[in-house]
């Protein structure tokens, strides 16, 4: 019985390790390529490790294009959208979770339904709208909409707030707190695991966004990192080690963030329940 269990968990481990290698291989391939010298790049069978590690590849590739400018733009967009989502989505979710008002359930249904609208449908009018505002080729089209909440985040936050005991609100109201103070003093601090979750989700989607910048930005000086990387890839005289080096550098912030916030992602997804 014992040996049977041992064999079973042994095979399970082997399967898991094999799958992990499968999932991690592309990362390894990226890193090892980024560190190679050009003459070791195009070899078959490929070399697993470069014979000398070319750390200067990173600097060389990064400085060959205005990646510092792209980084600045990406940081601005990611920071401001994340802040905007947190501020607006928490307020909106609180409104939906803690009040009874006319049309609430209908409006919430509408909110959920908007998640199904493909972006292709709204893309063209939005482009015209932002063009009318004079926002094309600025970072505003990427930032401003984030200050009006996102349905998915609102949904997650609302689920969470509904699990907070109402007695807390009532006690605070007895002490003379108004609705905003209850939101700010009681709910906001309690919501922080979900705030971290939506912060991470939004960071990732904003940092990785390609189509938004592609449609709304024209000048290179306004490019975000993803747009810069795609343009870099399209140049004909660029070596693969440079592309992989920049890809690695661009992937670094999401990866670091993920390792710190992993717990919140897993717990957040588990606790909110998707029924």
């Amino acid at each position: 019985m014992k040996s049977k269990r041992l064999i079973r968990s042994g095979t399970l481990y082997i399967v898991l390790v094999f799958l992990s290698l499968l999932f991690l291989a592309p990362f390894f391939w990226m890193v090892t390529t980024a560190l190679k010298s050009p003459d070791e790049l195009y070899m078959f069978p490929p070399k697993w490790f470069p014979s000398s590690w070319q750390f200067e590849n990173f600097g060389k590739a990064w400085n060959s294009q205005p990646f510092n400018t792209f980084l600045m733009n990406s940081v601005i967009v990611t920071f401001l959208t994340t802040l905007g989502q947190i501020v607006s989505s928490t307020l909106i979710a609180y409104g939906f979770a803690r009040f009874k008002f006319k049309g609430r359930d209908f409006l919430f249904m509408v909110l959920l339904a908007t998640m199904m609208i493909p972006w292709e449908v709204t893309m063209i009018p939005q482009y015209m709208e932002f063009n009318y505002f004079g926002w094309i080729n600025t970072l505003k089209p990427l930032i401003v909409p984030a200050w009006f909440g996102a349905p998915f985040y609102i949904f997650l936050l609302r689920q969470f707030i509904m699990s907070i005991p109402k007695e807390l609100d009532e006690a605070a109201r007895m002490d003379g707190a108004n609705s905003f103070q209850i939101y700010y003093r009681i709910h906001l601090p309690l919501m922080w695991p979900i705030i971290v979750l939506i912060g991470v989700f939004n960071f990732l989607s904003s940092w990785n966004d390609y189509l938004g910048p592609l449609i709304f930005l024209n000048d290179q000086s306004k490019y975000t990192l993803t747009l810069g990387l795609a343009q870099f890839n399209g140049m004909y005289d660029v070596n693969m080690e440079g592309i992989m080096a920049v890809t690695f550098l661009i992937s670094l912030p999401p990866l670091i963030l993920f390792f710190f916030a992993q717990k919140y992602i897993v717990n957040g997804v588990s606790s909110t329940g998707f029924k």
């Binding site: 968990s9 399970l12 399967v15 898991l16 799958l19 992990s20 999932f23 291989a25 592309p26 990362f27 391939w29 390529t33 790049l41 078959f44 607006s88 307020l91 909106i92 409104g95 939906f96 009040f99 009874k100 409006l107 908007t114 199904m116 493909p118 972006w119 292709e120 449908v121 709204t122 893309m123 063209i124 939005q126 482009y127 015209m128 909409p145 200050w147 909440g149 609102i154 609705s179 990732l204 990785n208 966004d209 189509l211 993803t226 990387l229 795609a230 890839n233 992989m244 890809t247 661009i250 999401p254 990866l255 993920f258 992993q262 992602i265 997804v269 588990s270 329940g273 998707f274 029924k275």
Partner: protein, 314 residues
Amino acid sequence: MKHDLIVSTENISVQTKRKINWGRLAPYIFISPWIIGFLLFTLGPLLFSLFISFFDWPIVGEKTFVGFSNYATMFTDDPLFWHSLWVTVKFAMLFVPLNIIISLFLAILLNKKLKASSLFRTFFYVPSVISGVALAMIWGWVYNGEYGILNYFLSLAGIEGPDWLNNQRWALLAMVIASLWGQGTMMLIFLAGLKNIPKDLYEAAEIDGAGKVYCFFKITLPLLTPTLLFNLITTIISAFQQLTLALVLTGGGPLGSTYFYAMYVYENAFKYFKMGYSSANAWIMFLIVLFLTMLVFKSSSVWVYYENEVKNSK
């Protein structure tokens, strides 16, 4: 004392009146950002998109009302419409089932009692944090026909791999695989669903002598169907919006084999500047997605199992 009370009621009533007004307004103030955003960035554009789909609407120049002619052209006189729709349907038919099966399989493995399961969970999830262009870059190099790591592994098994992204037969499958790599969130959702299944059900079944396979089909799968429904709908929606990979890696080629519907819409709008026609394209896609979602929802009453149903039937 009594006198005092009577005098102050007037005050109170004034106060409560104010409070009621505020109280009625408060929720609307809290949700107002969403309402404004919804009107400005969703409903407005949605209606405007429908409106201009009945026009010949170049980005500059004369706009002319053309009735249903954009829609008619699409269906009868534009092979690219049918072609891109077919490419997307093929992609979805591969991507949706594979995504569901693989995520579910990984979740089941991770749900076993193992010391290192959180480490493996990290490994399986980590590709999901880099999506879009970075993911495309990595896979573009993995798929390289001459020097790519994938063909190296295939050569170890004695298979000569194709030049994936430049091969009409393999490019779409390559897109499917690359997309599957970054689908960890779905795995986490399945994992959460699995953890929600009460353990005593399995214990009871074991006492009755039920095997693993029986338990999976009679307990795990039925109780997981609500999660499955959610994942199925999100996957279908995302499959129909697939664009970034093709835009960055293949530009829709080779020979249009990765020319997704979303790319068709995008190019009509921002390459050929046919805003009216492109809006009509987008609306057709919207209707297709809506139809499929409805279909899944309608069918769900047959195959989705809610726990309270079990309780009620007892």
